[in-house]
Subunit: 152 residues, 2 copies
DNA sequence: TTTTTAGTTCTGCAATAAGAGAACTAAAAA
DNA sequence: TTTTTAGTTCTCTTATTGCAGAACTAAAAA
């Protein structure tokens, strides 16, 4: 049993939850992740989470496993204690940014392929499409540079 | 009535459609946008789109209006012709990048707010959270810089 | 005035997502 | 050995999405 959340914390969990829903998480996953970002105790058990968010066991289990798969959270165990202690994987956002940049490659390949297969008649349209693929290449390279330059 | 699509074009529309679905568009919207990127004719009417993609009128109407709202497409009319001619708004991608960067501000404000309200006891966690908000500030500023530097 | 055009809106259905609650399971404790 | 713990999995319900098809509408054409 965990320390109860303050009203302010509940508010923040709700706000952060909504934002993360808009970024693709299910309501329950979004709130679990928010809870692990906002609660005073950094490591919470299954039941801490269930009670704090008033979720069913299935919703809690699915949300946790979803976040584990996404590597948004991790867990550790303590000697002589069967429970898992879940925590937000905050330190891993740089990799996430990097991944999203590298993810652009496939998208841009597709755009280049579209351009290659386009009729040569639509000169202006093709020029715009070319500029877009150039821009994405540029943006990707520069972004990776600035990420690498961070605190170095 | 428009020129029929080649098999290659159908393939590309499907691939691009799937990618855009994963970026939040509905199946129909994703395909309409893909069609307007891939078809030889750059400007297509409602019925061109409906026939090319074999959609119902309602699906076509909703997809088009959805894309118009998102400013992913635009339309023009021709003198003495009541139809609207829809086209992909390719040239406006930089603005979209810019918008998504500016959109980070709200997210980061929320994170800063969370940090401000956290217990001071979780020293390492708070330090990580602080580093994240610093990074987002940095990344946002640098990204805007590189976007502005594009072809200038 | 009637008909056609270029859509929009409404109705209904099928598929999917999200979560509650209960049944289940495997390991540890009693 | 039985019970408890720490979850997982299954079943059911409800809500939402996405679309087809039909009914509708407003402007233009005939």
């Amino acid at each position: 049993m965990e320390k109860k959340l303050t009203d302010k914390q509940r508010d923040l969990i709700e706000s952060f939850g909504v934002v993360q829903e808009s970024m693709g998480l299910s309501p329950a996953s979004a709130r679990v992740n928010a809870l692990l970002t906002i609660a005073d105790t950094v490591e919470l058990t299954f039941d801490d989470i269930r009670e704090a968010l008033e979720l069913s066991k299935s919703a809690t289990s699915n949300a946790i496993n979803n976040l584990l798969m996404l590597k948004r959270i991790g867990y550790k165990t303590k000697p002589g204690d069967r429970k898992r202690y879940f925590y937000s994987k905050m330190g891993q956002w740089q990799d996430a940014f990097m991944d999203s940049m590298n993810g652009l490659t496939g998208y841009n390949e597709l755009l280049k392929n579209i351009l290659k297969n386009r009729t040569k008649d639509s000169i202006e349209f093709n020029a715009q499409l070319k500029e877009l693929t150039d821009f994405i290449d540029y943006y990707q390279k520069e972004s990776i540079k600035i990420i690498k330059n961070w605190k170095k």
